[in-house]
């Protein structure tokens, strides 16, 4: 499939716990095309977050291959993986994980500090990202001065600002009320449709999964696909 952004081929993941080897999944296969919005669901312990971590280069598979935009990533060195993440992946976490001492704008600017952009261009991009998430007027506020929904929007702006191809969201609405969760999910949908971002979202919430183009259920090391 030439349009594939991510290809997972025969990926296995196991952990050693004492003498025991615990297999999370074995020979997992998945293709995610450019511009897809995939929701991954499944029971606790099924390996959703582990898979997300491997897609983001935070964890390595025990076997198999992960290809991103035609390039295998599972064997890259730590420093190359860091550079690759900085250029290609934006992360959105359940608990936002903003830097408490930095303002919203400075939090959003963080990924740009890894680029060679000058401060003027960085500021312009930060402003654009904050405008996309509707928070440009709160750019000088620190995280504790923002609501949960606003903090998550800042986190989305941070994930977006370096213009990555892939957004990885781990339970992005898990800590939000329904109304705010809906706003965030609509925003992700918008980023997928209007900006063409490929999004992989892990969620427990079937209502959240409905916002994705397709839902994948991971259970006992296998995917079951349902088209939304």
């Amino acid at each position: 499939m030439t349009n594939a952004l991510i290809q997972i081929a025969d990926v296995a993941k196991s952990y050693r716990r004492g003498q025991e080897t615990l297999s999370i999944f074995d020979r997992l296969n998945l293709t995610i095309p450019h511009g897809d919005f995939v929701a991954i669901m499944g029971p606790s312990g099924s390996g959703k977050t582990t898979l997300l971590n491997m897609l983001g280069g935070l964890d390595r598979p025990s076997g198999g291959a992960i290809t991103f935009d035609g390039k295998q990533i599972e064997n890259l060195s730590e420093s190359k993986l860091s550079s690759w993440r900085a250029a290609n992946v934006g992360f959105i976490f359940q608990f936002y994980n903003l830097m408490p001492t930095l303002t919203a704008a400075k939090n959003v600017e963080l990924p740009l500090l890894l680029t060679r952009l000058g401060s003027g261009e960085r500021n312009r991009r930060v402003q654009t990202a904050l405008e996309i998430v509707g928070l440009s007027e709160r750019k000088d506020h620190k995280p504790k001065e923002l609501s949960g929904g606003q903090q998550q929007r800042v986190a989305i702006a941070r994930a977006l600002v370096a213009d990555p191809k892939l957004l990885l969201a781990d339970e992005p609405t898990g800590d939000l009320d329904r109304t705010t969760a809906t706003e965030i999910l609509e925003m992700l949908q918008l980023l997928n449709k209007d900006l063409g971002k490929t999004i992989v979202m892990v969620t427990h919430d079937p209502a959240a999964a409905k916002y994705a183009k397709r839902e994948l259920h991971l259970d006992k090391g296998e995917f079951e696909e349902r088209v939304s």
Binding site: N53, L58, F93, N97, T101, L113
Partner: protein
């Protein structure tokens, strides 16, 4: 600049902790700078004014014991001794006992000749040598007490009494030693004869005999010859180089160099442990934030650099404040304390001391940041997120 801003933001996370760490470093550098200045001035006082071909003869018991003045001529006849003078500690003060003076009764002509580095105008040397109640004042003392040539002043002793019970020798300031860069021109000198004739006890004795040799290469032989000359006499001698004598004089206060090194070293080791421990704790608290930075794409080495940047900032901010306050203490306090001893007027933060302080700041920052930086590099993102 990007990383510096992040290092500053890390410090802003717990302002009180950062302030206390900076305060701890400030104390260490304050102690270092003040004691360092003290030590440097002490070294200058003992070393720089010491000529390599000058020797000092004292009583073997210790330098507070006296020697018969008759020894002076016998010492003068020792081979390779080119000049001889003598002095007696006067224990002087001006008007009130708290106005302490470094005062000696000396044989004027030979003393001025031997200590030409005191830098006395020739006509004043002449007056000092011929006028019995003439006092030679160092420029530092003259300025401090507002003495001018021709002023008649009382110089009192807290050791010596005259036969009538008085302890004041009226003198005229008729010579001023300008001193030099290395010899600050402190101290006052009165005529030995004028002093000795009036004192009630220990007449015809001197505290020290000063010898000038034909050259430093003759020092060892002259020392041997002089001490041999008075062996088994009631007042045996101990002859040493002037530098050794000055150092021994200072060492009567204890080994100041060792004390200063000990105090400064203890302060630094303590600060090292405090800052290192606090920063390790700070990094543990920020495991989640470090994991996020790694997730975003910050390489481990760059995160380590930011952590070390934080400890360097603490060391530099605290250290610089310490140096500034030390400078204020030395400049302002030194001027006040100079009233008690001109030594304090010589206190200064030398460029060498400042350069060492800056190097110590860098070293302190690097050492205290090393373990926290290593811990930050080792943060495993997956494990860290599981704990959040």
């Amino acid at each position: 600049m990007k990383d510096l801003a992040l290092a500053f933001s890390g410090l802003a996370r717990k302002k009180l902790r950062t302030a206390l760490l900076i305060f701890a470093v400030f104390i260490a550098f304050l102690i270092y700078a003040v004691l360092g200045a003290f030590s440097a001035s002490l070294d200058a006082a003992t070393g720089s004014s010491a000529s390599s071909n000058r020797l000092v003869v004292s009583n073997r018991i210790n330098f507070t014991e006296v020697l018969p003045i008759a020894y002076v001529n016998r010492v003068a006849n020792v081979p390779n001794v080119t000049d001889v003078s003598y002095s007696m500690w006067f224990g002087g003060y001006y008007q009130e006992e708290r106005n302490f003076l470094i005062a000696f009764a000396v044989e004027p002509a030979s003393y001025a000749r031997m200590f030409s580095d005191l830098n006395i105008p020739a006509d004043q040397v002449q007056r000092f040598s011929t006028q019995r109640d003439c006092m030679l004042a160092g420029r530092t003392d003259a300025d401090r007490w507002g003495w001018n040539l021709g002023d008649r002043i009382p110089v009192s002793s807290n050791i010596w009494r005259q036969t009538d019970g008085a302890n004041t020798w009226p003198v005229e300031v008729c010579a001023i030693a300008e001193g030099g860069e290395e010899l600050p021109g402190a101290g006052v000198y009165i005529n030995y004869e004028y002093f000795d004739e009036a004192r009630a006890f220990a007449n015809d004795t001197v505290g020290n005999i000063h010898i000038q040799t034909a050259g430093a290469e003759y020092n060892d032989q002259v020392i041997q010859d002089v001490d041999a000359l008075f062996q088994n006499s009631p007042a045996e001698t101990e002859t040493v180089t002037e530098a050794a004598f000055n150092a021994a004089f200072i060492d009567q206060q204890g080994n100041l160099g060792l004390i200063i090194l000990g105090v400064t070293g203890a302060a630094f080791v303590t600060i090292l442990l405090i800052v290192g421990n606090a920063m390790s704790g700070a990094i543990r608290e920020r495991t989640g934030e470090i994991a996020v930075m790694k997730t975003i794409g910050f390489p481990s080495a760059r995160i380590a650099r930011i952590v070390v940047g934080e400890t360097l900032l603490i060391a530099c901010i605290g250290g610089l404040i310490g140096l500034i306050v030390a400078w204020l203490i030395i400049e302002l306090g030194g001027a006040v304390l100079a009233a008690f001893s001109p030594f304090f007027a010589t206190l200064t933060l030398s460029p060498q001391l400042l350069a060492t302080a800056v190097a110590l700041m860098a070293l302190l920052g690097l050492i205290t940041g090393a373990i926290p930086a290593w811990n930050a590099m080792r943060v495993n993102v997956v494990t860290a997120f599981r704990r959040i």
